[in-house]
Amino acid sequence: MTEVTLLEEVVADTPHGDRLRGCMQCGSCGGSCPNGAEMDHTPRALFAMLFAGQRDEVLSSNTMWQCVSCYSCTTRCPREIPITDLMYTLKRMAVGAGVARHSDAIALARVFTNMVERYGRSFEFGIATRYLLLHHPVAALKNAGLGLKMYGHGRMSLRPTRIESLDELHAIVDEARTIEFAERNPGGVTW
């Protein structure tokens, strides 16, 4: 049995991901990117590495963590490759492989998704305090004045809002998790 390549995994885990195979290395993506200067590799270069089978180098690149979800590359790509979605897929795979580069982005996503699963809604004050105090105590101080101004302008709530049918939402989230686990472990692997 041949080993599944990272390219195959990424394609399989992204809607319309198969279009990636049509990448012609034109570089429109990197040229469109507002944050390309901060990336280890432009998306074009990252895809070249992906085609070359450089699994570790791709997953430990900072490229996907610098993506700002502006969809410029996706919109401009002449081969209609869903580049933004591929960046999301690579983030998930990098976290799964334990080699993700941007700890702050991961921390923010964890705090945010926790809040959403707990309340059904985002809770900006809770996210800001928990994320900043735990990960950026200095920035928390710098942003404290800003937080006070937001509060003063009626733009910050100290209490979360909960949706009414949290049970329904939790059932959906749990089922989604079960489906994904079963797909990843077709043999019924147990922990």
Partner: protein, 304 residues
């Protein structure tokens, strides 16, 4: 009159409450009937997609599934919410296997969404197409009086699911504001990115993206920036002071939601539109064009 399912999203509850207030006031004035989705949940923003794909899709689809079956269209003012609703609906239409997975998850909560059942639209399209030029022009009180506005669309309203405006140089907000008496200035960076969540995770990178947008608006002679995304408004308005500090600049550009500018044109009181909630105050620019006179005449509580 068409009724629209309304998805406000979390930001409109709190940090972008001025967007919520102005959307509701403007729509009420124009006879646009918004029906909030019952017990809607967070769309997951951009964060969920990089965290867990199927949960991201299912959370968004739960909102689509909860839309009143009598309604055929849903509108969202928040750029990220609009994008997410449009993205999942389109994904479910184009990739049946993905739709099947999402509906398996929804079924655990007793819900189902038939791909394509509702048409997802950003509010700017409802104003541009459905209300239209004639009715907007008629409803204008002339109180914008040539206010110079930089139209800032940001990313996610015009990319990649917008098929009725240009994704690089969109014009729909320009036109709506022009019909209402604003002087829309040339703003070539109108669809460039503000950095989104970068202000939370990599400040210096975000500050540079924000600086470019402020600088272009300043040089174009704009008195205010009109935007259509809570994240854009937060980055350009709330972080403007810190950007000035970081670069030693002195930008002073009020950033309003486009619906607030529309509301001023319609003669709605400033307080009702949430004007005054912005960190960089807009009242001075509006007053310079006599907009407060109209509001005061109608009983507005304008703060001097």
């Amino acid at each position: 009159m068409v009724r629209y399912a309304f998805y406000p999203g979390c930001s409109l509850d709190v940090s972008a409450v001025a967007y919520d207030e102005s959307v509701k006031a403007v729509c009420a004035k124009l006879g646009v009937d918004l029906v909030p989705i019952a017990d809607w949940n967070c769309c997951g923003a951009t964060e969920y997609w990089g965290h867990d794909a199927l949960i991201a899709q299912a959370l968004i689809a739960r909102n689509l599934a909860r839309i009143d079956p009598e309604l055929e269209q849903v509108t969202a003012p928040c750029a990220a919410c609009y994008l997410n609703l449009a993205k999942v609906d389109r994904m479910m239409r184009e990739v049946p296997a993905a739709a099947e997975r999402v509906n398996r998850a929804l079924a655990a909560g007793g819900l189902h969404y038939e791909p394509g059942r509702v048409r997802v639209r950003h509010l700017i399209d409802v104003l541009y197409e459905d209300v239209g030029r004639e009715r907007l022009t008629e409803a204008s009180t002339g109180s914008l009086d040539g206010l110079r506005v930089a139209p800032y669309y940001g990313c996610q309203v015009v990319r990649p699911f917008c098929d009725n405006d240009d994704s690089e140089q969109p014009v729909r907000m320009d036109e709506v504001l022009t019909w209402l008496g604003a002087e829309v200035v040339e703003y070539p960076v109108k669809s460039q990115c503000c950095g989104g969540h970068m202000s939370q995770i990599s400040e210096n990178e975000a500050f540079e993206l924000i600086r470019r947008l402020l600088d272009c608006a300043h040089r174009s002679g704009a008195e205010v920036i009109a935007c259509m995304c809570p994240m854009c408004q937060l980055n350009l308005d709330a972080y403007q002071g810190r950007v000035n500090h970081h670069f030693g600049t002195g930008y002073h550009l009020p950033v309003l939601f486009f619906t607030q500018v529309v509301g001023v044109a319609l003669g709605i009181e400033h307080d009702v539109l949430g004007i005054g909630r912005e960190i960089v105050p807009a009242r001075e620019a509006l007053r310079a064009h006599g907009a407060t006179v109209v509001a005061a005449a109608e009983g507005g509580r304008d703060v001097p």
